[in-house]
Subunit: 457 residues, 2 copies
């Protein structure tokens, strides 16, 4: 029976955590097991993330390895690292035996090299061990690092009936079948078919006759982000991975891609906010400082630069024109905001692969856009300054420079990410403090130059 | 045979576009068909996005509706709108007939109400029409708006053999089977099973005996973002949708969730950069202005506020203390950067549902973090000002205020998104221009206050 539930989402309450802690401290193992078995392993992982290390390890050792192996994959990286330190190589190997090769390799990769060798040597199933060792050899951001060896493979010469008989064996190890991959005698990927095709077909038909020969695939050394883009674009739920000779090596499933997409999005969002190194709200103050301080320091240098510029213009703007200094935060803010806007659009366009046309046409478009926005904003500023300060020429100087500042800021914001991308550098670093800081300095400098020109000083 | 390809990604070249344009203008229909049939429909959509409206409509009318219906779903919204305007209600209805209910409803929803009625009345398949009409009734951000009516459903009383026979019929309409949903006589969802389970089972077994009774589901009125979070967390590839009585209504597949996650990430990224309304680099200057100008205007108001504050302190800081004004861009930049950093971490934590603990503990943590970062940065600034300006007390005033500004900025950045979230407002609007602008003003105000206190003016 399906149980009733108020909400689709599991809610981690303080009561639940306290209940688990109480059961652990009173070593009521049976009750604890019964309680935790009610929850999905991803939810149990969330509970463990909140427990003390001692309690977490207690729970992991209490539950059977079929459940705990899944829980391990869902734990916070920090928690997992500490829990694994408290397990023997033998115990870790037992967890690993329960996991698909991709998850197994991910966990082993987090261990120290020495520990990796120990754990691998303790894995009893030879095939599983060899497959995991193979996966560990692939570079982190390649398709190989994401693929699992578990898949259902049939030879083109088989019949439907024989195929159904054979895949009954293979499918047991494969959590979700998705596609069945068709290979020739040399293990070369030549097509695919779905379980549905197999069920609908007549039992004496040959696989070669019912399989589809249009099969997408990726190379084992392809970049993970490219794989994600392809799978998202073509709505694929699994994609086979091949080597240079088209030999079928493994497959990547969409759930891993969902994780990749989320991580990418989180990373870009943080980078735009001036945070590096994939931190979370719950990380330690020291970790957060390491992620945040460098960018703040960059901002500090920018501020010092602005100070030096203003000091340099101190003599020029004595007397009435002095009010110009009071608009520097406005100028800096506008330069920063426009720069961030235009760079964000380019960064996103590059990520979604829909920035087409030449750099020049981009720059011209951004210039027109910035000129339009700048003129509207400058008009307001002009009226405000004229009304409050009563000086037409000062108001004109400030507002005309604002337009120039906004145009330059827009051009810098557009050019920098395009330039970085051409150079093979992740353009996402261009949005955020980097562009804000450089635009602050350029903005104030341009502002003073043009104002001086207009005021004839 | 699988054709060789250099790169996993389809590359839209100018040559290809020109080739298509040439074939259109020379009305070489056969060649054009042959050329476009080589590409995936998602790739053809990319080509059409680059063509003139006239050429796109020509291609759409040329290809058969089985292909064009898929192409339509992949077109840019702008292009699709214009193409549909050039098709008759009858022609659109023909495309719709080829699509799954969810894609069909999405396309119809984009039409004007009058046109919707026309198109719906032209759909020949009664069931398809009723299902689409049902889907159109659900609110945009609910599970109902994302689900498809196509799914494979079996009754608990069926046998495996009978079931296989029956689902052969159902499965034809369902692109990917994923799970088979088990219902009782009242259409209530009571379990699920996979095609694999069915193949592995003996043909005389009852469905009730082999089905799994732990099935996740969502309610039809659940929020789309919650559905996405659940599916990502539990690695689901499809989830059934039920009503209050647990009646099975439809299912949501992971490919739609991937799109939701991408859109969410893009939206949050843009909001953080001060852009509203989901624009792209290729949108018109007017559309981009509409998305960017309001936030720039907010920044302008902030700058005017900063000007008013500085003017108010003009008298107080005459003479030597005048240098304080030259550090206002630095103060504003630091306040803005710290505010954006802390709000980004909270916004992301809220989105990933891992912000736990009380608001107070968050604020205390952020205060400590800001104090640590602030002190390090202030020390540098102190040494710089002391060395260049030679005044110990001025250097002290500026650097101590910097610490205060950073702490307050961190607290505002932490508090605002938490507050918005409690009020049910999307906290993502708190990052970006909103927090930058308010922190600019507060920062400069606090800076002057504290500096005046220390300088004893």
């Amino acid at each position: 029976m399906v149980e009733e539930k108020e909400n689709i989402q599991f809610e981690l309450t303080d009561e639940l955590i306290e209940q688990v802690e109480r059961l652990v401290s009173e070593t009521k193992d049976k009750e604890l097991k019964a309680l935790l078995n009610e929850y999905h392993y991803a939810d149990v992982a969330e509970i463990l993330d909140e427990l003390s290390l001692e309690d977490s390890v207690y729970v992991i050792k209490l539950l059977d390895s079929e459940t705990t192996s899944d829980i391990l994959t869902e734990l916070d990286e920090d928690t997992r690292e500490k829990v694994l330190e408290n397990l023997s190589a033998k115990e870790i190997a037992e967890e690993i035996e329960e996991l698909d090769t991709d998850d197994a390799a991910d966990i082993i990769a987090e261990l120290s090299e020495e520990r990796q060798a120990e754990v691998i040597s303790q894995i009893e199933d030879n095939d599983h061990r060899d497959e995991i060792t193979e996966l560990l050899a692939y570079d982190e951001d390649t398709a190989g690092s994401l693929m699992a060896k578990e898949l259902v493979k049939v030879y083109e010469t088989w019949t439907v009936a024989g195929c159904l008989r054979r895949i009954r064996g293979q499918a047991k190890d494969v959590t979700r079948v998705h596609s069945i991959y068709v290979v020739n005698k040399k293990e070369k990927l030549i097509g695919r078919l779905s379980l549905k095709d197999l069920i609908v077909a007549k039992s004496e038909q040959k696989i070669a006759d019912i399989s589809k020969d249009t099969v997408d695939w990726v190379y084992v050394h392809d970049d993970v982000e490219d794989v994600a883009r392809v799978m998202a674009k073509y709505d694929l739920e699994a994609i086979p991975v091949v080597d240079k000779n088209q030999t079928l090596l493994g497959r990547i499933t969409i759930d891993d891609i969902v994780d990749v997409l989320k991580e990418e999005a989180d990373k870009d969002y943080q980078m735009a906010a001036g945070i590096t190194g994939d931190v979370e709200a719950d990380d330690s103050i020291l970790e957060l400082t390491r992620a945040r301080l460098p960018w703040l320091f960059l901002g500090l240098l920018g501020g010092v630069g602005a100070f030096l510029i203003m000091e340099g213009f101190e003599e020029a703007f004595k007397g009435e024109a002095f009010v110009l200094f009071f608009f520097t935060p406005l100028i800096a803010a506008m330069a920063g905001n426009v720069g961030v806007q235009s760079s964000a659009i380019i960064v996103q366009g590059l990520a979604n692969d829909d920035v087409r046309g030449s750099v020049n046409s981009r720059l011209i478009k951004e210039m027109l856009l910035a000129a339009l926005n700048g003129t509207i904003l400058a008009l307001f500023l002009f009226l405000f300054v004229w009304a409050t300060k009563g000086s037409f020429i000062t108001a004109l100087a400030i507002s005309v420079s604002l337009i120039a500042v906004i145009i330059v800021a827009g051009l810098i914001g557009t050019f920098v990410p395009l330039f970085l991308d051409k150079r093979g550098i992740d353009p996402a670093i261009a949005t955020g403090p980097f562009i804000t800081t450089s635009n602050d300095i350029f903005g104030i400098l341009i502002y003073f130059w043009i104002a001086r020109l207009i005021l004839g000083i």
